[in-house]
Subunit: 212 residues, 2 copies
DNA sequence: ATGAAAACCTAGTGGGTACTAGGTTTTTAT
DNA sequence: ATAAAAACCTAGTACCCACTAGGTTTTCAT
């Protein structure tokens, strides 16, 4: 570390020690995550196979496992990525009060354009009901966060006198979360059976004095 | 068919042709169905294995397949049995109008005592979202029936002037079905996160003028 | 009691699973 | 240009899957 001060760059790595990933690696990772997303969406985590994912992206199973150490890590990466994208896309979740509710209606509308993502969360959340499922704690945390955010929104709405009497913010939050999930199952089973955004709007208008 | 009228019973089977099942067979079938129910509840249909079921009941896989020709038939038998039991047990589904809604609250209360059954429908309905799933049509039919029954109940309530203005019976039905399903996911993930019957009651009291 | 069917088993089939060991090709900093 | 790490592959592990062929044991009507 002390000799050859001629090169500023060279003194950290010299005789072939560490090395970052190559230029196209990040792209590959994204391809893999997209493929894994598709597979887990339709087959769930337990039935979705690494081979399915690898085939979709034109790799072997072993090649895939060079990028993700194991199946569980792949699932976690998919979930994390989707959370980030979801937060980045919709300002729904950063808004407060009525703004958040409007955002949720908008999110529901958007969801009808991406059945794959809806299926992913629908299938995985049911699977993750099992305490041994690798995503069990993820979904516990997720629901706590969702309910908490919704509760705060309803509380603020109540402060503005826009929540109908007899409606408690925590209950409204639990019900809204449940309603949105339940609608997704019915919608996935038969697209024409429910108009998700319309039902969410109807529910919100039933418990508030606002228009959505 | 015309001769030997002496014996009424004997003329159909004679020299070792057909034979009914043995005395204990029905019991075995029930044991198998109970085991399959447990396995499918926690692992779903696709990940739940015949070996798991066979082990639980003390049989080999081959022995199990003597009673049910294949895995799909086993699933169908489980679903059919549970539907029959559910209908037989709760008069909830035969009642009409307000009676049916009270029955649904009661059913929800009962469901909190049988997490296994709740998990079965929760996991399977999500899995069956895939059109290729063997229970796909079963759940489509089931939801149509559930929504139809609920719609009729709300329509009757409306006729009695007990449905709050602005609430449409078909929408109320879709929302109630969705709410009950969604609550189950949250409850299965964490029993203490939601009080299912209380939330159903709160929802019903928000859209009707009745007390539940 | 006896014989035939029902109940059940052993031992396979062909296939899929996640994952690993060890080698080859590709990239890239030097 | 070269050398080492990253990217990727072949080939394998040990296991699980639904399902079958063919035989043995158990039940039970005669």
């Amino acid at each position: 570390m002390t000799d050859t001060p001629a090169t500023v760059v060279a003194d950290t790595p010299r005789r072939g020690r560490p090395r970052g990933s190559y230029a196209k690696t990040e792209g590959r990772r994204q391809e893999i995550l997209a493929a894994a997303f598709e597979v887990f969406s339709t087959s769930g985590y337990r039935s979705g196979s690494l081979k399915d994912v690898a085939d979709k992206v034109g790799l072997t199973q072993a090649g895939l496992l060079h990028h993700f150490p194991n199946k569980e890590a792949l699932l976690e990466a998919v979930l994390t990525l989707r959370d980030e994208e979801s937060v980045a896309r919709t300002g729904a979740l950063s808004a407060q009060g009525i703004g958040l509710l409007h955002g949720l209606v908008e999110l529901t509308r958007y969801n009808t354009t991406i059945p794959g993502l809806v299926a992913l969360y629908c299938v995985l959340s049911a699977e993750a009901t099992d305490p041994d499922h690798p995503a069990h704690e993820y979904f516990q945390r997720r629901y706590n966060w969702v309910r908490g955010t919704m509760k705060d929104a309803f509380a603020e709405i109540q402060r503005h006198g826009q929540l109908r009497p007899g409606i408690a913010p925590p209950a409204a939050a639990r019900q809204l979360a449940a309603l949105m999930d339940g609608l997704q199952v019915q919608w996935l089973l038969d697209n024409d059976s429910v108009d998700m955004p319309a039902e969410v709007v109807a529910f919100l208008e039933a418990i508030t004095t606002e228009k959505f």
